[in-house]
Symmetry: D2
Subunit: 346 residues, 4 copies
């Protein structure tokens, strides 16, 4: 049994991770830590766990947790994890950071987008970007994995085959992204109140959303050349789900059918990436509560553009599910362990 | 492995059952039958199953299915199942009817509430009412189990301890019930359109909802005397979930704390029934995608009434989940097999 | 022109009142006061007012406002209004209190349910309970009107004809009420976050909701005898709307048709009360953004009970709309001025 | 009083138009026609009209209606209006077509996108495209006005200043559009059921949505050169509202502040177009139930693109409201008559 601990267990990503780990046959949850709710029982904070996992939330830090755990998940706001990582810690336990601190390879890029100083830049090189389908081999041997941002998994996987195969003019990439409200986390704010977000739709963070450099970094890495792109997130009045609609100008003559084949081939060994056939398109409900990335691709002969639509569950493949997938890879167990549930379409 | 077939596989209850059976380690899905979609692949109707269960939907009837299956689930509108049940069929396979045809013991009551003639009344006596927590022993030996209606499981379990212990005046029972829209099924109708049910709340079926006699039958059976009660269903603009608020006048002096203890004791061996403590109350999201019945009880000294609030997921404990629980009992395997998921609170 | 001011203008009731008064041809909005947003423009807090009413929010108190206004609306949490009311103030201006401070005639009842000391009990007798359809004549001459609570308007109007005509056993009244989330106001709290209230349904305040004594007071007044009743509120995942389902045992033999006629007769001169005919029932969307109370009545011969279903928009007839109706009465202008919009069914 | 009739009165656009015309002080509703509900009372189909407008729905055709009405609104699916328009009709009454039949100037373009033959192409030249802010003078003298599609008003108004001022490279325009579900109309279909569209988000009609040529036609007309662009609609789980996010590469060096000023100047005389200042962005709730187009503009120096975000209520400015605005212009009355309501933010 893998002994697991979670720091930041009572955020939305944290509680989803508890849910997934609880049903994982090879994992034992040892510690759950929460700054806000230390001393309370998990079921007092999340009554859905009543009678299932009546564990007490601790206030413990990473060092303590590392003594008892084979893997420690961090699910904290950016800036709070980096300061807790040390060589000593990494010798004791494996780290999966669901937050943002180790995703960007370049300290300056991190500090410029996040407006904070990075307190452990010495681990940026070692940390592996945990998009499993792209970096599987490195993840297997990593001591520290940076779990991708919710928007980025969807964005990168739906554009990777185009960039890798030089199908598009990379300077024309535009990603129009839409997320359910759980993506905003559990902190109190006026715009997150039900009557303020229900029955409404809006854009936010135009030109400055922090997932942008992450997407650019990974696609640039695939491309071999620097990619700069537009990324615009929007808020959808629903709990879960992200859908991205990515646009780019075609650099070669190719139709929808050929592109779909190319995607199917590119991801042919990937259980969690489903390529839609015959012009059908993903919807967020088709992946709800699952670890899938669903992708549909169309070319538009009128405008000579390709439009790639992708859907994930932001709390699963966009956070906790991919963290479990990363853990599975790091511990050499079957990659889909604990992730075999069927999406709940209703 | 239990070989299972489903007739009516593409309704909301049917697809939920496929989802649960797919993850059940002791079950193999052999046949799925659908009148509307025979010949199509399951994933064409429900794209969430893409790459998971690429089975073709058959148009076959119960007789054919019985040859290959150890258990056949019926998930059909009322009146359509009874005509397919025969002694010959029951000698070949076990039957779990998620529909209404075998729930009422009295043929006349059935015909009066459902306005159709019952075509297999000879099996009404044999059929066991499949509310697992109440009729566990009979279910184990049943050939045909009538899975309870979605509203009834919630209503009966939250009132049973009161009736069994003669705590209330049975003539004063009022159940005010609220259901998510998936309870209305998948048929096309104007009131089921998104803009007609979203952002609105309504009552329906006042005084004539067909789950009423079912609740009366089971509570009367517990009481030993005939119970007549008020039942009013309402529609909530959400996908899943039922919450019932039941009222009755207290026949003895008892407070909230004592009643809560009594409920806890009454259901002490029941994994799927959770009694809320210290005045806390269930919410439908605390049981979403799970087989739990969550119950909170309060007495009101001003009015000398008890109010029992209960929540279930209408598609799980209210339909497919309880059907799986019944199957587990009928086949002598662990009662919670395939039903161990944690509710998804978000 | 009636010169109007609002204290507590940026809560949900307050902003709705601004919206209604802005379109009222006989009213001029003079001052808007907000403790939280004083100094900001209204459109910074509520961008829907951009280019329509670019007024600055003041932090002024009632005394200042009274100098300039013919009527001052208070839309504050309970306990905050009473302290601002004085004889001096009432000599300058008319007061409509949308809050709770002057609704209950009995200071002890107020203090017992609200757990605060009442700081202006000397005006409790003078204040008129502003349910327009019941107390029209008194309202016309009032200096201070206590606007009813959102749940109470719906509850009282749907039961009044039964109580007035001695149709029911008053000791059996149960009101099961359901409200949209805007009823909880605009303050920050975890349960009010979108992902915590969306796709879920719950009961709250069982046996102790503060609208209970208000309903009892008014129905007792109609009855001439003390009425004690059960009232249970629930939260519906929608922005606006309240629906109440009221139950009582019939004290005489009467059917749905006769009762419907009795209601139609009782409210025959009331523009804002619509009695549904032929067994049809109200839905909250049928009254959205309007000042109507829609009522449907059914008797259940099996249980000898009557079930009265009523719907209002909690922010209009449940708060700001009724406040405008009260103002119209107090100033002798047409009662429906500014309230003639058609409900928006979509 | 303007005597008005509506053909197709019971669709979502039709009922919204009734609602607006009912409150219009210069209009009298003479006839409402509905193929599906002829003979029924309006309030039987839409109970929100109970006691307000108890008119009977007729099955009459345009010719009959024209005898009694000064203006006839058509709110029919495409292809059904063209066949009813004749010189004789236009001599009797003015026509406002909320449908698509007279929006495209080029018969071939219409037939290619709509896949039907146009049955009155002789009026295509005469018909005026009814985007009031762009074609005000022509509308004033028109006999037949083609009300714009819901997506197009938002798209065109948010891009017009850029095209008119040659700010962008017109070949790079991409419009990513999102609509509430009422945009799909009131016809029965599986994807429109509540449980199938609630809590989900999807794209549809990629590369072939029929509003595309309309947007291209109007922007080309402003530009003086042919514009071909990408348009992708999406479905948002909410009743009302459209938000468009438009992207284009900047052809000159300009920042957000300068662009905002340019928009403010371009629309300085337009009451119904509101330009957001200081980087703030529209949300669909800020325009709900109103005739406003709200626009926010940002440039992104990293990608040298402009992003223009615009929001409307699809049933008001996107359909019925703009139809009323067109009527006001055609009859020489104040342009905002009947359209002065404040958006309902909750």
């Amino acid at each position: 049994m893998i002994k697991a601990g979670i720091i930041g267990a009572t955020g939305y990503a944290g509680q989803e991770l508890i849910r997934l780990l609880y049903n994982h046959t090879k994992v034992e949850i040892i510690h759950l830590s929460s700054r806000s709710y230390a001393g309370k029982k998990l079921s007092e904070v999340y009554p859905n766990f009543t009678g299932i996992l009546d564990i007490e939330l601790a206030g413990m830090d990473a060092q303590q947790m590392a003594d008892d755990c084979d893997v420690v998940f961090f699910a904290l706001p950016h800036g709070l994890t980096a300061g807790q990582i040390s060589e000593e810690l990494l010798e004791k336990t494996k780290i999966i950071d669901i937050g943002a601190d180790f995703r960007l390879k370049d300290k300056d890029v991190y500090e410029s987008w996040y407006k904070v100083k990075h307190s452990a830049p010495q681990f940026l090189k070692e940390a592996v970007y945990g998009l499993c389908e792209l970096n599987r081999e490195q993840i297997k041997n990593a001591r520290i994995v940076a779990n991708p941002g919710c928007y980025t998994t969807c964005s990168i996987t739906s554009l990777a085959p185009l960039v890798a195969n030089k199908i598009i003019d990379n300077s024309t990439i535009i990603i129009d992204a839409k997320s359910g409200v759980s993506g905003a986390g559990r902190s109190l704010s006026l715009p997150a109140l039900f009557p303020e977000s229900n029955e409404s739709f809006k854009a936010y963070g135009i030109g400055n959303h922090r997932h942008t450099p992450e997407i650019e970094q990974e696609l640039s890495s695939i491309s071999g050349k620097d990619i700069v792109l537009s990324f615009t997130p929007h808020l959808v009045p629903m709990n879960r789900g992200i859908l991205t609609t990515a646009y780019a100008s075609l650099a070669k003559d190719i139709n929808s059918k050929e592109l779909t084949s190319l995607y199917s081939e590119y991801y042919k060994d990937e259980k969690f990436i489903r390529i839609y056939q015959d012009g059908s398109l993903p919807e967020t409900r088709f992946v709800r509560n699952s670890n899938f990335v669903d992708i549909g691709i169309k070319t538009d002969p009128r405008t000579k553009r390709v439009i790639a639509v992708a859907a994930i569950d932001n709390l699963v493949k966009g956070a906790a599910g991919q963290a479990v997938q990363n853990m599975n890879l790091m511990f050499g167990i079957q990659e889909d362990s604990g992730l075999n549930t069927v999406p709940t379409i209703i």
